[in-house]
Amino acid sequence: MTNQSYEKYSKKKAKKSPLLKNICFAFLVGGLICTLGQAILNCYLALGIDKERAASLLSITLIFLACLFTGFGLFDRLAKHAGAGTLVPITGFANAMCSPSIDNKAEGYVLGVGAKMFVIAGPVIVYGTLTSILLGIVIYVLSLFGIDIIHLIV
């Protein structure tokens, strides 16, 4: 039995994730979260709040709800069925910040909560910022040649 043949064998043998089911759940739950978001946005707009502020308030509300559900131990129960459906909207980011904060409370507020809060979301922030800088450079360089990419897209 060689390493390669065993690796191949064990991979073939491994029970596969139910891809279709996962995708369907992700689509449904993700869609529901977005619908909920739209409903909340409409409520804020109906209250006479301007569009920009209403959008910020919506993000805050969804983050609050995701953190609340994380605290009650319900978020992970939904997420194990929903997968990307809960991960991709802002709820996933909130859970990624909130869950390590709860987890590391025993190690204190500075080196526990404060430091470990970013253990999952940290890379998202780092590479998100980096990507936006790179994109900014691309847009700038293109603008030197008279191409206004922002107005082309929007």
Partner: protein, 334 residues
């Protein structure tokens, strides 16, 4: 060839055993065989690490009570767990006066501590020894995977770390008894499996080669045993071991099972491929298997503790997962 199987002439007896488990373990098919199960898996403590320490304290104290032995009558304890620097075990025994040896054999720790506890009796240096191993789902999850409340999706090959402790007390005993009669420490086998969510596949070759080595030394055949039980290969690893065994001339039949498969109801409990962790084989052996040995349903068994010797750091550095399997024979002797 390495030295053959360590055979214990003195046939040290198991004086008492105790198993403690959490909520999922209580709800599993072996739930009634645990001495103590706690629905509140914090065990009343403020951190998961303290909870695991508390579990070890409860379990070892009850094992002592059941053996009618005081702590200072135990000459040596071998204990291990999955936590960094093995603290669940060492913190649990810091209040006692028992000479302590901390072990790390990943999930194979219980078979390792049982074998060493029997060895130290065989040498005559100790009169009574204790073997303990523990794991806690939450302390393991925090250390090896994600925060407890983090919403992620697990693969079907992943296993659920058992919240459980098993403790046994061994001693010189005469007459009919349940005894540890043989011990075969495992070699490390690495078949370059890197998927940390498929530990069963990483450990199965180690179990295969330990069993093959054992049967090459022994005049016994696999079917001569009432039960051959691996530690925590889970459904994935169990099936691999049966298939690999068949192609290597080791036929494992109806008398083969795996603690990780036995401890949970794989259909109805959300545990994917089954249980894992030091506490898996430790609590299944100290609870269910000891009960079956005592009442005579089982008289001669092989416990093959399986361990995946990785760390979170080596996994991130894309190292493969070395596996190990220690074999202990437990039988009724007269």
């Amino acid at each position: 060839m390495n030295r053959k199987v360590f055979e214990f002439q003195s046939k040290p007896g198991i004086l008492s055993s105790c198993a403690v488990g959490g909520r999922l373990e209580k709800e599993g098919p072996l739930g009634s065989y645990f001495d103590i199960t706690e629905t509140d898996t914090t065990f009343g403590m403020e951190s998961w690490e303290k909870a695991e320490t508390k579990m070890v304290e409860i379990c070892s104290t009850l094992a002592l009570e059941k053996a009618k032995a005081a702590a200072d009558e135990i000459d040596l304890v071998f204990a291990g767990d999955l936590m960094n620097q093995c603290t669940a075990s060492s913190f649990a025994f810091r209040q006692t006066q028992i000479p302590y040896i901390g072990l790390y054999g990943a999930c194979s720790t219980f078979a390792l501590s049982l074998g060493l506890a029997a060895m130290s009796l065989e040498t005559g240096f100790a009169k009574r020894t204790m073997a303990v191993a523990s794991s806690h789902f939450c302390s393991a999850e925090r250390q090896y995977r994600f925060p407890i409340e983090y919403g992620n999706q697990r693969t079907p090959t992943s296993q659920n770390t058992v919240t459980g402790v098993g403790a046994v007390i061994l001693g010189e005993q005469q007459g009919e008894r349940i005894a540890v009669t043989e011990f075969l420490p495992g070699r490390i086998h690495d078949y370059k499996i890197k998927d940390v969510n498929n530990m069963g596949a990483a450990m199965a070759p180690a179990a295969l080669y330990t069993l093959k080595r054992y049967f090459s030394f022994s005049d016994k055949k696999p079917e001569d045993f009432d039960l051959i039980v691996t530690g925590d290969l889970g459904m994935e690893g169990k099936n691999i071991l049966i298939e690999l065994g068949a192609s290597h001339g080791l036929i494992l039949g109806e008398n083969y099972n795996d603690c990780g498969v036995m401890i949970y109801d794989l259909e109805n409990q959300d545990v994917h491929a089954g249980g894992s962790g030091c506490g898996c084989s430790a609590s299944v052996f100290s609870g269910y298997l000891m009960d079956q040995l005592r009442c005579g349903n089982l008289n001669d068994i092989l416990l093959v503790g399986t361990g995946a010797l990785l760390s979170p750091t080596t996994a991130l550095q894309k190292e493969s997962i070395p596996g190990i399997a220690h074999l202990v024979r437990i039988q009724r002797v007269k």
